[in-house]
């Protein structure tokens, strides 16, 4: 019997297709069958097997013609935050239910141009606001993982890219797009035992991505391993004149330069990340990560990032402030939902539309953002937060004098049960305590699987790098991957 094609990585599919071991159509059909058989996970909002199949047929034809593209034959999942021409794009909100973009986002276009096809639009937290994928209008995504104690409690796949993480961990797609505003690629990757990288702010164009907090939003890939992340990132990144913050830099060949040899590299261990009452499994995994990087030849140095504790509160001023401004566009006039009560005027229509279209967490953040930007409070909240943000970026700048990359946990715990933190927004926000500082500083950061918790759940190690040094981050990730020997996967129950 042929290998199960859905167990192959992006690199294996690309190379196997290239050498004629299988057809792209076989690959697309195998993954589409897995997607169709995994409704219980609720990872997809829309399934697009026809899109994947059309790209696969093209890939098979291109192979016959000798015109293969870099990712010919590889089907992927697309987070439903990227505008896809002719395919509903909702940001997991009621507000955009039925919205069919008339254009293609830059990142998704680049992926199609590279030869990939789309298996479907992946579920997420509504407008990417959440850490557990419980704020989606289209229902919770369920992690494929379960605790080893035999309990069948549904676990959070992380958020906001929870459809992406679940789909990859459950072999519904070999790779997917994610977006990361304050940890939305890295935390779900950690929760599901996969890898994901948020590149330097500006590497991937934001054009056509539903905006949350524009100074933080950044797209990146999620996949099973570091090599696949490098391959996917190269296809997604690049200058785009349609995004004013796009970096006008060449895209390096990250895959070709991958090396797990850390000889001569200095790895910083930030003392402020060792929180009081840190989870024992997390602390042990972190220590093991330090040992693994030493084994790879790195020198380990203790560093200090003194403003770390202020990153999360600064984020919860800046991100809602930007969100309140960005989400002002949903007015029931140009696209999306309209709620027009009998006899209502324009202002009432706005208010009714936004009350009906936004979920509770989105409203909460819009209200916070509106408050901190309002007359009389702007300086006390927003200006102060942006000053603290400058200090957080300075902390990293100072650290780079001592080290080349930073190693830390990705999240403070393993995946929690769905429902466990929904009643307490602050407890939910604390999930991103280790992820947010790199977001505020615009730095590349990735999560790779580090170990299993005592309950048999994946835990992630995070590597943070200097601006533009995705290579250094990927290489440290590879050094960890080569040594962690993480082969655990979720047993199929769905």
């Amino acid at each position: 019997m042929m290998t199960d094609l859905t167990n192959l990585t992006v690199a294996q599919i690309r190379d196997g297709h290239r050498s004629g071991d299988f057809t792209a159509v076989e690959v697309a059909e195998a993954f589409s069958a897995n997607v169709a058989g995994a409704k219980a996970l609720n990872a997809f909002i829309v399934e697009t097997p026809d899109h994947a199949l059309a790209a696969a047929k093209q890939a098979d034809a291109d192979r016959a013609d000798g015109t293969l593209k870099p990712l010919s034959g590889v089907p992927i999942g697309m987070k439903d935050l990227f505008a896809t021409k002719g395919v509903q794009t909702t940001a997991a909100s009621h507000m955009l239910e039925g919205f069919v973009p008339q254009y293609e986002s830059t990142v998704s276009q680049k992926l199609w141009d590279a030869g990939t096809g789309m298996l479907g639009k992946l579920n997420l937290d509504q407008f990417a606001m959440g850490s557990s994928n419980e704020t989606s209008y289209f229902g919770n995504v369920i992690s494929p993982w379960r605790k080893s104690d035999g309990s069948n409690a549904a676990l959070a796949p992380g958020g906001s890219s929870g459809g992406s993480s679940t789909a990859i961990a459950a072999r519904l797609c070999p790779a997917a797009t994610g977006t990361d505003t304050g940890g939305s690629i890295r935390q779900p990757a950690a929760f599901t035992g996969i890898s994901g990288i948020k590149p330097t702010y500006g590497r991937c164009s934001r054009w056509g991505i539903v905006a949350f907090a524009s100074s933080l939003d950044q797209a990146g890939p999620m996949a099973r391993d570091v090599q696949d992340c490098a391959i996917m990132l190269a296809a997604m990144a690049g200058f785009d004149a349609k995004d004013a913050t796009s970096l006008d830099l060449p895209v390096p060949d990250w895959e070709a330069a991958l090396s797990g040899n850390m000889k001569g590299k200095r790895v910083g261990i930030p003392k402020e990340y060792r929180l009081d009452g840190i989870d024992e499994d997390i602390a042990a995994m972190w220590d093991h990560g330090i040992a693994m990087l030493k084994d790879a030849g790195a020198t380990v140095v203790d560093i200090s990032l003194p403003h770390t504790k202020y990153a999360l509160p600064a984020y919860y001023i800046i991100a809602p402030a930007e969100a309140s401004s960005n989400l002002a566009r949903y007015d029931g006039v140009r696209y999306g939902l309209r709620d027009l009560p009998e006899g209502a005027g324009l202002q009432d229509m706005y208010a009714a539309t936004r009350a009906a279209g936004f979920g509770p967490e989105v409203k909460r953040r819009i209200l916070i953002g509106t408050y901190v930007l309002s007359a009389g409070f702007y300086d006390a909240y927003y200006t102060q937060a942006q000053k603290v943000r400058a200090l957080i970026a300075r902390d990293f700048e100072a650290a780079w004098a001592q080290c080349d990359v930073i190693l830390a946990p990705t999240a403070p715990s393993a995946a929690f049960a769905l429902g466990e933190k929904m009643a307490d927004p602050l407890a939910m926000y604390l999930n991103d305590v280790f992820a947010v500082p790199a977001s505020l500083a615009g730095l590349p950061a990735m999560s790779v699987p580090g170990a299993l918790s005592r309950d048999g759940l994946p835990l992630g190690l995070q590597i943070i790098g200097k601006a533009f040094d995705e290579q250094g981050v990927l290489n440290a990730g590879l050094a960890l991957e080569e040594r962690a020997g993480f082969t655990a996967r979720a047993e199929r129950w769905w």
Binding site: S215, K242, Y310, R334, L346, L391, L426
Partner: protein
């Protein structure tokens, strides 16, 4: 700085989100919890620190002064622009009457 229910109503009005009495009561507590928590930023000494405006230094570019240089963001897209509008009248966005 704590908010009361009148503040919540004012914020919701500024944000153009209709809000019920029950939501006002719930939101008062939730916003105060979050605002109380972010208050700790006040203890950071920011003397002489400029607020961050760009996370990665970048310069704004001017596009070439050419009509429709990029057709995706150029003109002549009326049908596409209106395609998702909840109400379209005579090639325009339709809204409730705003002038008596």
């Amino acid at each position: 700085m704590a908010v009361n229910q009148a503040d919540v109503r004012k914020i919701a009005s500024l944000a153009r989100i209709a809000i019920s009495d029950a939501e006002v009561a719930a939101m008062e507590g939730e916003l105060n919890n979050i605002l109380g928590w972010v208050e700790q930023l006040g203890e950071v000494d920011v003397t002489g620190v400029e607020p961050m405006t760009a996370v990665i230094p970048n310069t704004l570019r001017l596009r070439d002064d050419v009509i429709n240089a990029d057709p995706l963001t150029g003109g002549g897209m009326q049908a596409a622009v209106l395609a998702n509008a909840p109400a379209v009248q005579h090639g325009f966005f339709g809204v409730p009457k705003v002038i008596e």
